[in-house]
Assembly symmetry: C2
Homo-oligomer: 491 residues x 2
């Protein structure tokens, strides 16, 4: 959908601005290693955990007076094995400009290289691409200046494994808490609605930075189109600007995000300010229906659900619509407003979905002309509360046993799978998925949880090359939410 | 020779500092071309002449909001056909860090890229290495801030060709006149003695910046070793430092450089300050003699003469010694000091040279055990005034007809060839060499004269790849000296 007319809502923008956090700065200085670098030499510095920030490198020389500049390559990596990849080999469809690599000439020594860009990394590799044979380079120190708007917080857990997973989740969220909740500090470094929703609920169980959620809600509200379409993401640098694109599901998820925030804060000002826009999302989405059944994928516009191009989104999109409308009803109830027409719409859409998308023979929801079976479709129907808890549990067992069902690809979809298991009372199974799926990343040495993780194919990337994958991604932060909300308290 | 003990002469350094020029700044703004750049696009900006300075690029975007950084490659070229070369293919022994190429990430638009480094160029190529397909780049303007310590000066000439060659010479010198007389603004960007001497004499006929010559003489004096060895070059950034290496001929050429300066200025303070160091160069060089014959190349240390590794330097080195000692005698005479012992030494060295290095059968000077014939050897003997003008002229004709004679490689050696022709009264031949050799560069579209030019092999480089060759080099500036001193006035 094109962002035809941009009429920035100034009042909302001012409120967003008012809640802009002051970033906490952490400085970490690594002493230079005891070695001299000549041409083609390289050295790796390990900051011990994932950080988001910029660096200064103090350099001096040994040997004769530097009689030529030095040409350095800096590479920043979230995972150490990223260094095994050569940026020259990346030919994916997302811009290679995301690869965290700098080539820098240094004319005079000693010097402090002050690299003004922000990087997301634990490891820094300094390589000498070109230097005169008359002198060698010495790294005196590497200084990191990292930022986050999250406070410090101790990991929790009833055992080492839970504590490890909570710790990695916390770190993931912390790194994505900058002046907004961003999707990932490596890429795209901006506020996305799908990520915000999961960051917010995890934040309520952990850092409890309510102001930052409020700021983000107002940023989306401020940048909606004149027609009320909420963007898929908001840019804030160099200035606030709503992404010209929107997604069917992300726009709708503004409503549960607002509901979750209200239930945490009872912030009536915010709820009343943003309610009209929440209602508007349902009205806009309803245009995508023919009667009570939503258009199929090809006429729907982009509906995300998961990073899977083979996924048919029709049935899942209808489930997200119902899920969002149910959130709207709850919000209207809480605000003492009339909600009857939405309740009627929900019933009609559920009835139609059961008629059209539920395959009685399979006992599963299917999507599209080809009646495709997927975790995405079925989990979203469980989340929109169309079946009883018992029926949901039975469906999830059938789903698991169906070998044709398209599995989740991203932690974002795994989050919804775990949510569906919990909604169906399958707490132990949900716990196992958390421990196995996110635990799998932990076993790979993750300091933060990845944007993409397929236990069957560790090199998977929807971008045509994993060099642009983000290894600290907001939508992967929810193990802390699940553990702290459902597991740690009750044990 | 190692620069064992560095005792910077503070008095000399202060004088050098006092004569540090204020650079003239020239700004030139090119309007951006009417095109949008996407991935793999590139565009070339032509500043119309050779400049030495830094640039600012104003960038904006078209299309959707920039949702990824842009990765730009900037290449700077003195000659347009340098763009046909790929820096990846350079594997020479001089550092590839000299290649004028920058890779820069731009995170936010619009922006002004302020590239703080200094480049030597006429052409700037801006390429988009990586960018999101959602937007395109527009270059709004490219602003150059160029520096020189030379004033503006009109080219002279009795015809178009002379004026063209004078103009290119003037430009070459102007570009090399920065806070010091540098060898070349691309490479090495520093004060070298061999270059200084030729820059100074050309400067006397053109820009007449005597203070800059004085500064450079004092810089060499300030950075001589405790033993009095004058460095081959002086670094001035980040601070003044004498190159740890010296060259047999360059150290000696300090003397004629001082003499030339004194004859132009009658600056007694300078001559008296630096005379002891001039004398010292003869004393140091004399240690390289066994009796009255200089050591052969392998025991001589580095004697430059020309960029030719096959060249035997023995006989030429002795000629440079005599040439320098003759300059010392002239200087002593002018200062009313005793010079007799140097005159006696000159006579002894000349006599020995004629005995050992002059091949009566060939009628040419030869060098080394293998009795190698070269322009370098013979021209330097003519310059040290060992033969009558008539005999010199005959020798040069024989040299020209000798097919084994090693030809000059650099404009530096061509300068000495032309000087020898003039010293032998062969004015027309000298004129032809200027017109043909430097004219050959002009015909290739040179805005400035090159460090290296071999009419027989245009890709020649002593560095293992012409990508590090400098196309604006001080030692190539002397056509203006020759034309203005010997040709333009007399016609």
């Amino acid at each position: 959908m094109g962002h035809k007319i941009i009429v920035m809502n100034k009042k909302f923008l001012e409120i967003a601005d008012k809640y802009k956090p002051k970033l906490n700065i952490e400085r970490k200085v690594l002493k230079g290693h005891d070695c001299l670098l000549k041409e083609n030499d390289s050295d790796i510095y390990d900051f011990g955990n994932h950080y988001t920030g910029s660096i200064k490198i103090s350099l001096s020389t040994k040997g004769r007076f530097p009689d030529a500049p030095a040409l350095l390559k800096l590479r920043f990596a979230e995972l150490k094995d990223e260094f095994e990849e050569d940026s020259k080999n990346y030919h994916g469809w997302i811009s290679k400009s995301w690869i965290q690599e700098e080539l820098i000439h240094v004319d005079y020594f000693p010097t402090v290289l002050d690299i003004k860009r922000v990087f997301a990394f634990r490891y820094l590799e300094i390589s000498v691409v070109g230097i005169s044979s008359n002198y060698q380079l010495h790294v005196d120190s590497v200084e990191l200046e990292a930022t986050t708007s999250a406070p410090k917080l101790e990991a929790k857990g009833n055992n080492k494994r839970e504590k490890q997973i909570d710790s990695i989740s916390l770190r993931t969220l912390r790194e994505c808490m900058q002046e907004e909740f961003i999707d990932g500090p490596k890429r795209d470094r901006r506020l996305w609605l799908g990520d915000l929703r999961l960051e917010a609920i995890t934040n309520y169980e952990t850092y409890k930075n309510y102001a930052l959620v409020k700021r983000c809600l107002y940023l989306f509200a401020a940048t909606a189109t004149e027609d009320g379409v909420i963007s898929q993401s908001v840019f804030t640098k160099p200035e606030v600007f709503g992404d010209e694109a929107s997604m069917f599901d992300y726009s709708l998820l503004f409503i549960p995000t607002l509901l979750d925030y209200y239930m945490e804060t009872f912030d009536k000002e915010c709820a009343n300010d943003l309610l009209p826009l929440a209602i508007k999302q349902i009205e806009i989405a309803r245009r995508r229906f023919y009667g009570d059944i939503i258009n199929d994928s090809d006429q729907l516009g982009w509906c995300f659900l998961d990073w899977s191009l083979e996924l048919n989104k029709q049935a899942g999109a209808q489930a997200v619509y119902i899920y969002a409308e149910e959130a709207l009803v709850k919000l209207l109830k809480l605000l003492g407003k009339d909600y009857k027409i939405y309740l009627e719409d929900i019933e009609a859409k559920k009835k139609a979905a059961l008629n059209v998308f539920y395959d009685k023979k399979l006992g599963l929801f299917v999507s599209g002309k080809d009646r495709q079976i997927s975790y995405a479709t079925n989990c979203w129907y469980i989340l929109c509360d169309i079946l009883s808890e018992e029926d949901s549990a039975d469906l999830l067992i059938r789903l698991e046993n169906n070998k044709d069902a398209i599995k989740p690809v991203t932690p974002y979809m795994y989050h919804h799978y775990v949510s569906a298991l919990i909604a169906s009372g399958l707490y132990d199974k949900a716990y196992d998925v958390i421990m196995n799926y996110w635990g799998g990343m932990a076993d790979l040495g993750a300091d933060t949880f990845f944007e993409l993780y397929n236990p069957q194919n560790k090199d998977e990337s929807p971008y045509g090359g994993k060099q642009v994958n983000s290894y600290c991604h907001a939508w992967s932060t929810t193990p802390s939410y699940f553990l702290r909300k459902y597991y740690l308290k009750s044990r």
